[in-house]
Each structure stands twice: as structure tokens, then as C-alpha cells.
Symmetry: none
Subunit: 263 residues, 2 copies
Amino acid sequence: MLEARLTQGSLLKKIIEAIKDLVQDANFDCSDSGISLQAMDSAHVALCALLLKSDGFEPYRCDRNLSLGINLNSLSKMLKCSGNDDVITLKADDEGDILTMLFESPNQDRLCEYELKLMDIDSEHLGIPEQEFDCTVKMSSTEFARIVRDLSTLNESVTISATKEGVRFATAGEMGKGSVFLKPNSSVDDSSSSGSLPTTIQLSEPVSVTLSLKYLNNFTKAAPLSDTVTLQMTNDIPVLIDFSVGEIGYIRYFLAPKINEEE
Amino acid sequence: MLEARLTQGSLLKKIIEAIKDLVQDANFDCSDSGISLQAMDSAHVALCALLLKSDGFEPYRCDRNLSLGINLNSLSKMLKCSGNDDVITLKADDEGDILTMLFESPNQDRLCEYELKLMDIDSEHLGIPEQEFDCTVKMSSTEFARIVRDLSTLNESVTISATKEGVRFATAGEMGKGSVFLKPNSSVDDSSSSGSLPTTIQLSEPVSVTLSLKYLNNFTKAAPLSDTVTLQMTNDIPVLIDFSVGEIGYIRYFLAPKINEEE
DNA sequence: TCTTAAGCGC
DNA sequence: GCGCTTAAGA
């Protein structure tokens, strides 16, 4: 059986919000090392990979590997019944077809128990290659969300180009063009409380990829989970966009770039 | 070419918000004295006049007179991509058909460049007469906005009547009547921090004009630009409603009164 | 399309 | 902390 107690239940709520617009149904694979999920969106264009390590739970127990088939919309609805400060405990029997969720209010005054019916879902276990990327950009997740939202008003796709000098997000549409350029922060620790977090760029090779803004906008639903986002890019290879989930794991999105031909 | 750098970029955002609901497309006329715009609303009922003096920009350069035909909705969308603290620089070539906008974040970490395609717009240069009015009311712009909004719930038009005793905004509809009376503030500098700014009235002749609340509501979009608004009225003559734009210019609206016959 | 809920700015 | 604008849901 599975029993996993998450002190900061709001994390789970944010995680599901960050996935449910991309994936309807998915298997949560539970083992003694933790809980993971891998799924493609319905159009099979983007891939989402979630990992929650067992030591992020207190306690965590998983005797046998379990694959819990879950409708994320239903799960989201139930999680909205929990308070943001609640402690959430997930329970599932080895042979059962329900996921039991316990919501405990901080002062123990309220105890909610919800049971979610599980589904059988054909799992498409996608071998996600552990690859090296030519360029890694780490930046403020809210700034990333802002840029993606801004450029979405102009067109459907954005071209992200990175050099040592900085990273550029550019698009063009009927109204005109838009381009945002971020300089990596001077090594000097500018504690000028300049609002946004510093951008850092590591690259072995300049890169330029063109991505769907609609999907990127979907991914930025994960921004509430982490102050920073990491973009990993290599030309013509799916981009990896990584949000850490507190100290306990991550949500990663993979998105194939559009092949660079003028439309 | 034009190059105009506005330190307080948020002013430009507010200006466009204050115009775009009234006018879809308009020419921004640029000369060495500054940037101006004059346009009527699509129903040709109201007139909007914007002036931004060159010395409000730092620096300002305009070699030749330029008329930039702009779709205000597109401009608004692009300006929303700027941060509220950004410095905004406008650039246009003499023979070009684009307006380039630079948004610089305060700490220079982010640099955005947007290009707006320009349009050819038949300019209807309306000779706006410099006229004397019988009555000038200066009052809090937020209070004005509040009154207009409140009375809008009762009917479509408001009758503004001013005497030395004060100014009255009155309307009547199916529900009933509404009337707001503002006394000019006593000459004594009442620093009673009474919330709202004092009202002042100068008049050579009592006036009474009936105006469309729908249009007045449109005009109050300019309230964020200035703490005060100035109403200038003469019976049966278009009313002038003036919001100053910081120290650098103004937005003025002209609205013809309804002819005073019971509907 | 309208209503409601969340995020952002003042 | 309050109000507003914007995004999601009915």
C-alpha cells in the first residue's frame, strides 16, 4: 500500500494545476523512491515529467510499486476542497481502485477525507533521455511567464536565442514585432533589490529555437512552484523547461521546437 | 527622425488607455515642439486632443515633422508589455512605416524592443478654437469619475449646473433621481486632509449643460493621469474637459451638450 | 456570453 | 490592505 503525507499540501495543489491543462488522465507511478508521472499532451507535442521524491513526504511508505490512473480534472476538483495550509495524506491499497486523500487543517479542527476513483490508463512510458544541452538559462519564473504572456499577444510562436551576451525572446506578427532581451546578471552581487531574480546563462554553443507560445503559456502554470525556471536548449532538439518543486522534486516539460522554415 | 525618451513610461500607458476606447486609429503628429494628437470618436460626437511637450522627454529629437498613423489598440497591447517602471523610448524614421519602442527596466537587466506597424490615416485636422468659457470648475478627478459612474446607473445623460454657490450634477431616470452638489472649497486653506481635493469655481455666467454619461465615463479613463480635472462650460457650446499629463502636457476632451429639450 | 475567482498594482 | 484588471468556469 501507499501512504504519503505531505506537510505542505498546497504544493500538491499547485502541481496538479500545472499539469491538468496539458494532460487529462495520467498514471502516478509510486515506488519506494517516490511518486512520478510522465505523460504527453493530447496532441503528443509536449511531454510533462513530474518527480516527487519519497523523502519529501513525512512519512512515506510504499510497499509495492503502484500505478495510480488518475483523471487530473477530478483530482484538481478534490484538491480544491483542501485548505492551503492543510496537510495532505495520500493513501492507496495495493489492490484497490481508489485513492484516498486526507486533508488535515493545521489546528486539527477539521479532517477531510476524499476518495477518488482510479482509472485504467494505458501508460506510454516514454524513455526520456538524460541528455546534455548546449545552453542552460536560469531565470526568474515570473519574468519568464511575463515574457511568454506578452509575446503571445503578437503571434503564436517565439524564437529564443541565447549567446553569452544574453537571451532573446522574439516574435513578429501582423501588428509588428516584439523582442525581449535579458542580460545575464553581472557577477557582482547586485543586491540592489532590483525586483527580479538574476538571469544566468551557461552555454557551449549559441542556440536558437522556435517554440509554441501556447504550450509555453501552459508550462508557466508551474511558476507558482518555484522562483526560478531553467531552460535547457540545443538546436533542433526538444527544449527542457524545469521548475523545481520545493526541495522535493521537479516538474519538467519538454517541447519540440518548430523546424526553422519561414511559414 | 523622431526619438523621444520618456522616463516615466507609465504615463504613456495611461494616456493610451485614456484614448483607445474613444478612438481606434489616429495620427500622432510629431514636431520639434512635441507630440500631439487630435481625433474625433467614431460617432463624431466627441473630440480628443493630446499634447505632450518636447521638454517632457529626455532627450527629445524630431528633425522633420512626422505624422504617425497608429492603431491605438495595437499600441495599447504593446505598451502592456512594458513594466510600469520602465523607461520608454519612441523612435521613427522619416520614411519608415514603423514605430519602434524601447522598454528599459530600471536596472537595465531587461531590454524590450517592439515595432509597431504604422498606418495611413486620413487626418481630419480639426481647428479647435481657443475660446473663453463662462464657467471653469476645477475638481478632484477621482471624484468626478465617481460621480459620473454613480449617475450612469440612473440614466444616459447628466445635467451639470454651476453657480457661484457650487456645481450640481443631476440626472433622473426610471428608478428615480440623483443629484450631487459640490461646494467650492472655502478660501481658507482647509488642510483638514478631507480625503478629496478642493473644488474651485470661476464663472462670469451661470451655466447648465446636459451631457452624455457614456462619453463622460470614457473621458474619466484619463483620471489616473491627474489628481484634478478642469471642466470648462458655456451654455450650448461644447464642454472642454481637461486632464493634465504630469508636467508635460494634457489630454482634453470636447463634448457637445445635448440641446435642452425634454426627450 | 456572463459570472466568478485569482493575481497585480496602488 | 483594498481595488482593479485579467483569466477561468458556468
